[in-house]
């Protein structure tokens, strides 16, 4: 069953168009990784799905976002509010700033189920304590009464996850959930998210810049570059047989710490800023196989197929 379907999503902020050509589908129980470097449009994609663009003065310019059969792009703020935090949960990057420092963490988590599930105070508290236990937080009943500053970063991120789960969502969007955390804590949070998806049959959009996290957790991947999607496909296929030169180069940039001895190759040049997107394929100034057509024509990113690469010279299977 398709939980989320994004077709040719484009975003504008005033006169500029920082995001275009994003398409993917997510089934129930699946994890999709949206991966790219900074400025690639990963977070804008998440904001577009969550209807949060007005916060930064942006709007959806074209395309559709369908969540479990509901078209989200035309929803009013009030209708969106019922979904956000309800059927769609958001996990943000920085657990240090997503909790209210003046309130105990228990009541902060309670607020979600009281608002969306209509629970009373006692019911919400019982639910929160149960949720904290599910997230392997030791002694949830006493943690309930702590303030955010009394907890470690990893523990705070678990609280943020508990809030996202507060109203039993169908879809979770996690925007760089482990970037601010140490490796051992990251490993635990990633494992926890994977377990939650299985146990609760959730769908998860995992936004990250880290190809290793994608390799370890996701079912499928969409690679983004300079505000547009460049490649999409099942995770194994993307790593074994990248079709877009950018995906291939990006994989060549990560040290295979444990298997190793392939020399690292950087990608010449830098990611262009929003105002300087090149004509044609946005990767062509840094691409090693670009030809004249790449400077003129924007390559097509197929919307329907499982596997798609927006490249005029999509690479053949590596032998």
């Amino acid at each position: 069953m398709t939980m989320l379907s994004v077709q040719d999503l484009g975003v504008s902020i005033g006169p500029i168009a920082p995001l275009s050509g994003v398409s993917f589908q997510l089934e129930r129980g699946e994890i999709i990784g949206i991966v790219g470097e900074s400025g690639s449009g990963k977070s804008l994609t998440a904001m577009g799905i969550m209807g949060l663009l007005p916060l930064i003065g942006g709007q959806i310019d074209h395309g559709t976002v369908e969540f479990d059969g509901i078209e989200l792009t035309g929803l009013s703020e009030n209708e969106y509010r019922k979904l956000r935090g309800g059927r769609i949960g958001l996990i943000t990057q920085n657990p240090m700033t997503s909790l209210d420092p003046l309130k105990k963490i228990g009541p902060q988590v309670d607020a979600v189920s009281r608002l969306h599930l209509g629970l009373d105070r006692a019911g919400a508290k019982a639910r929160t304590v149960e949720l904290l236990g599910d997230l392997r937080i030791p002694e949830p009943a006493s943690i309930y009464h702590l303030y955010p500053h009394q907890m470690s970063g990893g523990m705070k991120q678990r609280i943020v996850i508990a809030m996202a789960l507060g109203a039993d969502p169908d879809l979770l969007i996690a925007d760089e959930p482990t970037t601010a955390l140490d490796v051992t804590v990251q490993a635990q949070i990633i494992r926890l998210l994977g377990d939650l998806v299985k146990q609760r049959d959730l769908s998860l959009v995992l936004i990250t810049h880290d190809m290793s996290v994608v390799a370890q957790t996701c079912d499928k991947v969409m690679v983004m570059y300079a505000g547009t999607a460049v490649e999409r496909g099942p995770v194994q296929d993307i790593f074994d047989n990248p079709k877009h030169p950018y995906t291939k180069a990006l994989i060549g940039c990560i040290p295979h710490g444990l298997s190793e001895t392939v020399r690292l190759k950087g990608i010449e040049g830098t990611v262009p800023g929003v105002a300087q997107y090149p004509s044609g394929c946005r990767f062509h100034p840094r691409c090693t196989i670009a030809e004249e057509v790449c400077t003129r024509n924007v390559p097509v990113f197929e919307t329907g197929a499982k596997r798609a690469a927006a490249c005029h010279f999509a690479l053949e299977a590596a032998q």
Binding site: E37, S38, R136, S152, M155, D182, V183, T184, Q186, A187, Q188, I190, R191, H209, D210, M211, S212, V213, A215, Q216, V235, Q236, F239, A249, L250, I251, G252, C253, I254, P255, H256, G257, L258, S259, E260, R263, L264, K265, G266, I267, E268, T270, V271
Partner: protein, 318 residues
Amino acid sequence: MTTLLDVRHLSKKFVSGGGPFRPVRSMHAVNDVSFSVDTGRVVGVVGESGCGKSTLARLVLRLIEPSSGDVQFEDLDLLAQKPKPMRALRARMQMVFQDPYSAIDPRYTIRNAVTEPFQVQGVRQTASEADDKTAELLSMVGLSEQLAGSYPHQLSGGQKQRVGIARALALNPALLVLDEPTASLDVSVQAQIISLLEKLRDELNLTYIFISHDLSLVKYFCDEILVMYLGRVVEALPSTDAAARHPYTRTLLDSTFDPDPKLRRTIEPLGGEVPSPFDLPPGCAFAARCPVATEKCRTELPVLRADDGHPVACHHPL
């Protein structure tokens, strides 16, 4: 191989609190750390945030004064140097900082930034000498000399980090301490910077101390690795393929993801929390989270022992 840097029993104690309502508390950010670095080697220092990596870097260069211990650099006792000779010695040891955005004065042109070390050292340069030196340094780090007149805000993060490296190289140092030089950069740029550092080491016979939280990057780039936990070195891996013998190193390795979906692993959750550095247990600091800890670990501090050239501080090494 000659020993360039020799660090013995180095410690740094920080004190906080004091005053009528706050009790004085102290913590050892770096605690009894000993290691040596041979010329031409790349020594990695890994550990999680708060383990004392950056404090160690600053102590080694004497940017902060240690509470106790010895540092020998090129057979000179670094801590005994008076201010003037110390300043001259600093030309031989330089640092590249994590955040290239704040490491360069925003009101300096790139030319000013890379020639500032000469002014600090009192080296007089004519305008044309400075121009030549700037061009030479910029080309060494792969930047166009046309950037000499630009300001830092006109450069990308990767370019700024290259300027940071050029500045560190200006005085022909023997030792570079790299404190998370790629942590604020994108992976494609990180790979560029790492290749540049590899090239420079070969060309200039440099020695690096490379501080990072990224174990796969350290394994890729370094010759030997110090693993730190709460201010102490718990293990010194003599080579990158040496098997981990300390349970903490094992945990760190197990927490590092491979960028290959075929190598998926189930992560065993690590119990417990890092103890407060203000209130360390009497025994091994990792004991509370360690799967093989015994009563001895909780009461008796393990020392870093190198019976076979592979130092590890553990009562029950793997």
